[in-house]
């Protein structure tokens, strides 16, 4: 009796217990998934490569090594002695420095595209789904119309008309990337809106936009994050495709797509490293994102709970 009394006093006097949020649970589940953690590590290393590469690269990405020019297939091989760790490209520029730069640009395109999509798409979809009725109909028809435009054509047109620049590339990718996200967010919001906690907030008198930000969006995030991690690689692929066509980033800037394009053009000359190194980074990054996306989906899946 005395013991239980003491225990109860102890409990009452205790500091607030730290709860396990759904996010904490999801993190624990994610960390148990070996493939996803491996993907995360790969992405981390690729990011490090992009950030720290310029510091350790012995060559600048713009400088031409005149010693190898004219004999790229022999002298431009990957070697530690010349400092061209990844070899050189057909013009004698250091491929290591160029791959670092391509990685920076491709990751930036992917992440900026996904961020635009997450922010604009989620808010747009949540607003349309929450208000419903006519507002929803008008907003989603606008999305349908934008979706029906062949975006690759528009992107190419934008780049041709307004000149090829990074800004135009971001605008073009930003314009199309949020559409799918808006649809996903809207569909989820429709089912969240009828939840009783949303009704409780309405009955209490919480303002509509506060409800969207406090109750709808946090519950959307699970789906949104999963989709965003799968969106980053597709953004990278778009950009690579555009660059492959020769419309993307411009020299002296480069990206994975441009490097792969250059490498593919030189394949007949026996300089496989020009294709191999950029392709290697491209592929492991895509795999990394896909595994992380898969892991997140499993970790955040409410049915698994």
């Amino acid at each position: 009796m005395f013991a239980t009394k003491a225990a109860a006093d102890n409990l009452a006097a205790a500091q607030p217990v730290k709860g396990r949020s759904l996010w904490a649970d999801a993190r624990a589940r994610f960390l148990r998934n070996k493939a996803a953690v491996a993907g995360l590590i790969v992405l981390f290393l690729v990011t490090l490569f992009a950030l720290l590469g310029p510091l350790i690269a012995p060559w600048n990405n713009e400088d031409i090594d005149w010693n190898v020019l004219g004999n790229v297939a022999e002298a431009g091989r990957p070697s530690l002695e010349t400092g061209h760790w990844f070899g050189t490209d057909a013009l004698g520029r250091d491929l290591f420095a160029r791959t670092v730069q391509g990685t920076q640009i491709s990751l930036m395109v992917g992440i900026v595209g996904a961020l635009i999509s997450v922010i604009v798409g989620t808010l747009y979809g949540a607003v349309a789904g929450y208000f419903g009725g006519r507002a929803d109909a008008v907003m989603m028809r606008a999305v349908d119309v934008l979706m029906s435009i062949p975006y690759m054509f528009v992107l190419i047109l934008l780049l041709v008309v307004f000149g090829r620049s990074m800004l135009m590339l971001f605008i073009g990718i930003g314009l199309v990337s949020w559409l799918d996200m808006a649809r996903i967010a809207r569909g989820q919001t429709l089912s969240l809106r009828s939840k009783e906690y949303v009704e409780a907030a309405i009955a209490t008198g919480v303002k509509p936009f506060t409800i969207i930000l406090r109750h709808i969006v946090p519950n959307l995030l699970g789906v949104v994050i999963v989709y965003a991690t799968l969106l980053v690689p597709s953004m990278i692929i778009y950009e690579s495709f555009i660059s492959f066509l020769g419309l993307g980033v411009q020299e002296p800037l480069t990206s994975w797509g441009a490097l792969i394009n250059d490498g593919a053009a030189e394949m007949n000359n026996g300089t496989y490293w020009m294709l191999g190194f950029p392709l290697f980074f491209f592929v492991i990054t895509l795999f990394g994102f896909f595994f992380v996306g898969d892991g997140l989906r499993d970790a955040l899946d409410p049915k698994d709970r």
């Binding site: 730290k18 709860g19 906690y197 009704e199 009955a203 008198g205 919480v206």
Partner: protein, 335 residues
């Protein structure tokens, strides 16, 4: 009649139902979820609202709170018409009227911890309140509903159904409202927890002078907590009287059937009892029967019932019944 806090006068709620597969421009079907319901909530008292699933209890409650638009009639709050209020006024009004929900877990946002959930109405209506004060009030309210204040950082999924309902009650009471609408607050809980939650509500009502509207489909729970009971069937209120009167002298045949369906916790008495079981299903509210809506299942129905809508008659004191043959209903049971 003492101080009337809220009065619903002839409130009707109609929903538009788009027929599946219809053209977008086809006029939608009208579903009358609540038809001309009038109730009065007296300050400090409890009104019980009973009826089977689909009878419009929850819709009436939501019409009073304002989350469902009223298609006709008025809701008067302390004598002032509330149905024409602007959205902003309505939001401010949320301080005085709060709701407790049926599914305790679904009523709590899974991404917020308990402290945030309970504090939400407070920071909505008193945004200038300092954080420390909010925390203090939340702690006090959690203690009041029988939860350890140390649990503020926990999340809803870490609690049992009864505890979640206590959290829901704490959230409803933190702004010290005058009216709390409980929409089947105990029907998702098991019986022992039901009693705890009902007694908690009664205690809080006594201490804080709350007016309660208590919705349930279980008469035995409603009888325990209510001062007055209204019985609903297919969107209409068919009988309203003081709790003892409804239980002791039920006049509408539907009320009788409801009372007869309450199980007696004694197998012997249960077997010996004559039990008029209702036949059939609740008719579709899209196409309610003509005249008296209960006639399709009524044991004493006759031809005239189909012809005209029964008046909501005052039969004694403040006991109203919507059945012209209520005297015979009593005879039918005596046989």
């Amino acid at each position: 009649m003492s101080d009337v806090l809220l009065e619903a006068d002839n409130v009707s709620v109609t929903f538009d139902i788009q027929r599946p597969g219809a053209w977008p421009w086809t006029p939608p079907d009208k579903l009358q979820a609540v038809k001309q319901a009038s109730i009065q909530l007296e300050s400090g008292k409890t009104l019980g609202l009973v009826g089977e699933s689909g009878s419009g209890k929850s819709t009436l409650a939501r019409a009073i709170v304002g989350t469902v638009p009223i298609s006709s009639g008025t809701v008067l709050w302390r004598g002032q018409d509330w149905s024409a209020a602007s959205p902003a006024e309505r939001r401010n009004h949320g301080r005085h009227v709060q709701m407790v929900f049926q599914d305790p877990l679904a009523a709590l946002n899974p991404r917020m911890n308990v402290g945030e959930i309970v504090a939400e109405p407070l920071i909505t209506h008193f945004p200038d309140l300092p954080k420390a004060k909010v925390r203090e009030k939340v702690g006090a309210m959690m203690e009041r509903v029988g939860l350890l204040p140390t649990l503020v950082n926990r999340y809803p999924h870490e609690f049992s159904g009864g505890q979640c309902q206590r959290i829901g009650i704490a959230r409803a009471l933190i702004t010290e409202p005058e009216l709390v609408i409980c929409d089947e607050p105990v029907s998702a809980l098991d019986v022992s927890v039901q009693a705890q939650v009902v007694n908690l509500l009664k205690g809080l009502q006594r201490d804080m002078g709350l007016t309660l509207m208590f919705i349930a489909h279980d008469l035995s729970v409603v009888r325990h907590i209510s001062d007055r009971i209204a019985v609903m069937y297919l969107g209409r209120i068919v009988e309203i009287a003081d709790a003892a009167e409804v239980i002791g002298n039920p006049c509408h045949p539907y009320t009788r059937a409801l009372i007869a369906s309450v199980p007696i916790p004694s197998p012997k008495a249960e077997r010996a009892r004559h039990r008029p079981v209702l036949q059939g299903e609740l008719p579709s509210p899209l196409a309610p029967p003509s005249g008296c809506v209960f006639r399709t299942r009524c044991p004493i129905a006759r031809d005239s019932c189909a012809a005209q809508v029964p008046e909501f008659e005052l039969i004694s004191g403040d006991h109203r019944v919507a059945c012209p043959y209520h005297a015979e209903a009593g005879l039918a049971r005596a046989e």
